[in-house]
Amino acid sequence: MSLVNVSNLVAGYGNNAPILQNVDMTLQQGQIGVIVGPNGAGKSTLLKSIFGLLNIHSGEITHNDKSIIHLRADQLVQQGLAFVPQEFNVFESMSVEENLEMGAFIRSDDLSDSIDKVYGYFPPLKEKRNQPAGELSGGQRQMVAMGRALMSNPSLLLLDEPTAGLSPLFMEKIFERIIAVNKSGVTVLMVEQHARQALAIADMGFVLVTGQNAFTDTGQALLQDDDVARSFLGG
Amino acid sequence: MNTLLTGYKKEALIVSFCGVLIALVFANFGSAFGLRMLTEIACFTIIALGLTIQWGFAGLFNAGIMGFIALAAFVSMLVSYPVNEAFWQSDFSSQLGWVFAKLLLGVAIIWGINSLPTLRNRIKLRRLLVVIAIAITYLVFMQNLAPVARGIETGAGFIGGFGLPVWMGWIAGGIVAGILAWFVGHICLGLRSDYLAIATLGIAEIIKAVLKNADWLTRGTLTVSPLPWPVETPGEIGFIASRAQYLSVTIVIIAVIFWLLQRAYSAPWGRMIRAIRDNELSSAAMGKDVNGRRLEVFILGSVLMGVGGAALVTFNSIFDPSGFLPLHHTFLIWVMVILGGAGNNTGTLIGTVIVYIVWVMSEPATLWVFEGIKHLGLEWFAWQVPNDFDSRALQMRVFLIGLTITLVLRFAPSGLIPEKIREH
């Protein structure tokens, strides 16, 4: 059954000309979906549209077969979505643990199990639990940001360029963690610049070009597709 | 309905509404009162035009218009009030001169320390020395001034004026208001917009406190009157002729300002200002000196406020520092500008006309309504009203000004006649 389904989406910033033109996208429960494409193709726009941050001109977005285009961010979190922005994605003045607690704002039950689970995914955070997140390195911040998003027990995790600005070593680690998170039953949809590496771990790949669907297939299929490789994976 | 009333039709309707209002005032209260009100409207228009450039063109929040008005009115009084011979013949005139000479010396020393080449790279030491120099100058000045001020107050009363023509006073008032704006703007314009509001609010209260308490300079609560007029006074040619002359002087000023503003609006300078207001970041990115332009606008607007304020106080013919009220001299002007349509000169003019007439008429109207309440209260509930019922009733106007501000911001944020974006 499809967990998230985008159909005929036209969306953009404010009342300006829409960036996305009739985009379609479907992701099944438990999959990893990767949105790739050249700069300015509308990758982040698609992700933000799903999370209700942009102006949707027309089209439909459903989650568990329910329309979610009119929901506020906190209602989306209640529905089981979680979003990690690309930049400014931690509360810099707050400690690591407080960052995690903020991710669980919608919950009123005991958080200690979930916090331990996040420390399980990201062991370095445990020893930094009382340090302000603003003092951490880029990779550790990304862990805090993902950990925060996981605290609401989402069924769908949206990641906007989780490896931007990280060294290749850290990128590997983050991808590894994303797979681990996915194995625990969380569907992941992410935007990535590192297209080859990302498609390698993807169940589904969506190639966007100038705000439209260019190719949609499994990650492996896209990697082997000559057209895709020629048009933007660089040969 | 809405489409019918767009553009010029709506404007024509509003203008004729203003005309009807003015005609009604003339018919009911006579020409002398009508002319007085029109002259006051004209003076407020000059002030409001100053605000409309600050707020409408550049988005600068001036919460202390009262301070600029009061300062300019004082300067204008100082320049144009007849010479006080008693002061100039007393010893205190030379003593006061010495006090200010010492102040100048102090300022020169401070400036010298600040620009001493050997201290250029030792910022901490320089700061420390500047602070010490400022403190010493201040203390010496205060200690020296106190006995002289007391002497002037007991002898000559106050220093009087320079006996120069009134128009020079108005110009001087405008210039000093501009200098004040330069100081305030210099400190606040690089910071977030709220800080300018806080600083101007504070400076207005300080100027009022100084003018109210420096009796040797302003006679304080004793007030100075009658202020000389730029035209023949009512005593010489009667109220109607005299006020008509005064009105024509102010209308000429408004016409000149209007002409200059309309030109500036479409000139490259005006376009740059509006570009900065509408998108500060991209303007800064395009290499425009955002704060420099803003400072210019802030000074220009304050000069207009000064000229208008000087004209207003001169017309009332009395300089009374306690008479400057934030409600009347700051927030009323805000209502005029935002109701009329910020950034639109015609809108500002119309806003001023409507708001001022309503404001003047609201006093008798409020009292009438509350008289009715008092009457009914007594009849029905045997309610004894408090002694200060009338002064309390007038507080209703304060409430209404506040309500108007919030309602306009919410429901008609661009005012009755919004700024027209003209293509060039």
């Binding site: 961010a73 906190d74 979190v77 925060r148 | 709220d194 100084v210 507080q395 409430f399 919030t406 911001l409």
Partner: protein
């Protein structure tokens, strides 16, 4: 010795008292600044409003204090705080929320808050009149005179009951604020919104609820500060305007959006005021005879004449804006 006692009375005790009032006001202003991103000009009138609620309750139940042994105005404080807090939330709902939903710039919010100021001012004076009022019309205000164990100390340290209550209450509210911000879910959420509003929104934090909590805290602290100040001095409707500038100065000195900074800022401004209007000639008087001839001792050596007290917070504000616009504790970026 008497000079030192005079100094303690005039500078330390008075400065701590007014500083506590500024601190409580500045916490509210700084929280609103941090979360809603605008300078709330109606804060002074919220203080006056709270004091009027307390006064009205005191008039209605003049006996309530005696039963407990505290001034009636203080006993009524919790009710006044609650009422003011509710009014603050309602003001936000009616006047500020619609503007926020229109995405207006912070300056427009500032202007709206001035509109609210005028409305509150008008209503307070309409119903409360314009003359000063005293809380202690039916009770006695306790004044403690503490003699010091020194032989040459004939003067006594004077402290009033309302001042003691003010100090205790400020201490209590500082701990309460600390607890709320660091230990409770909504308090932490307030810090999160202040830190990064966009991220707070996508984290699922309900901004509207956080806003309500902010107004509840700011409103009740404003009411407490207004009431405790009026208990000590008197209740004047124009209280608000004189408080506004020192409170803003305190909030900016402490670093905008920084509650602990606001507390420090409040005391900085409070002590600066009492130190500047203190007559330093008193300390020189004992040495009158040994001073050189040319040094004529003036009877008043205050740094700032009392009538210009308002220049002190302004001066502090200007200095901090020039040298350290982020405040002592690195507040929100300017």
């Amino acid at each position: 010795m008497n000079e030192i006692i005079f100094f303690i009375n005039k500078v330390l005790i008075s400065g701590a008292a007014i500083g506590s009032v500024y601190a409580m006001g500045a916490i509210g202003v700084t929280l609103i600044f941090g979360i809603l991103r605008f300078a709330h000009f109606a804060h002074g009138d919220m203080m006056t409003l709270g004091a009027f609620f307390a006064f009205a309750l005191t008039v209605m139940f003049p006996q309530a204090g005696q039963a407990i042994g505290l001034p009636t105005g203080f006993v009524m404080l919790p009710v006044a705080m609650l009422l003011t807090a509710i009014i603050a939330v309602l003001l936000d709902k009616t006047f500020y929320l619609p503007l926020r939903n229109n995405n207006v710039s912070p300056v427009v919010m500032v202007m709206a808050s001035i509109g609210v100021t005028l409305m509150l001012q008008g209503l307070i004076r309409l119903f409360g009149g314009i003359e000063a009022r005293y809380f202690f019309f039916a009770e006695r205000k306790d004044i403690f005179r503490i003699a010091l164990p020194f032989e040459d100390a004939s003067r006594k340290i004077v402290i009033t009951e309302p001042q003691i209550l003010l100090f205790l209450f400020t201490l209590f509210s500082v701990f309460a604020i600390h607890y709320i911000l660091n230990k409770t879910k909504f308090g932490k959420a307030m810090r999160a919104v202040s830190d990064n509003p966009d991220l707070a929104r996508v984290s699922g934090i309900n901004i509207q609820k956080v806003t309500i909590v902010t107004w509840l805290i700011a409103g009740s602290l404003a009411a407490a500060a207004g009431t405790l100040l009026s208990l000590d001095v008197s209740l004047k409707p124009d209280l608000s305007f004189n408080l506004l500038l020192p409170i803003f100065a305190a909030a900016i000195v402490g670093g905008v959006g920084h509650p602990y900074g606001a507390i420090v800022g409040g005391y900085v401004v409070g002590f600066a005021e009492t130190l500047s209007i203190f007559n330093w000639a008193i300390f020189l008087r004992p040495f009158r005879d040994s001073l050189p001839e040319w040094f004529e001792l003036s009877s008043n050596l205050a740094l700032v004449p009392t009538e210009y007290k308002i220049t002190v917070p302004f001066f502090i504000l200007v200095v901090i804006l020039i040298w350290r616009p982020t405040g002592l504790f690195k507040g929100k970026v300017i």
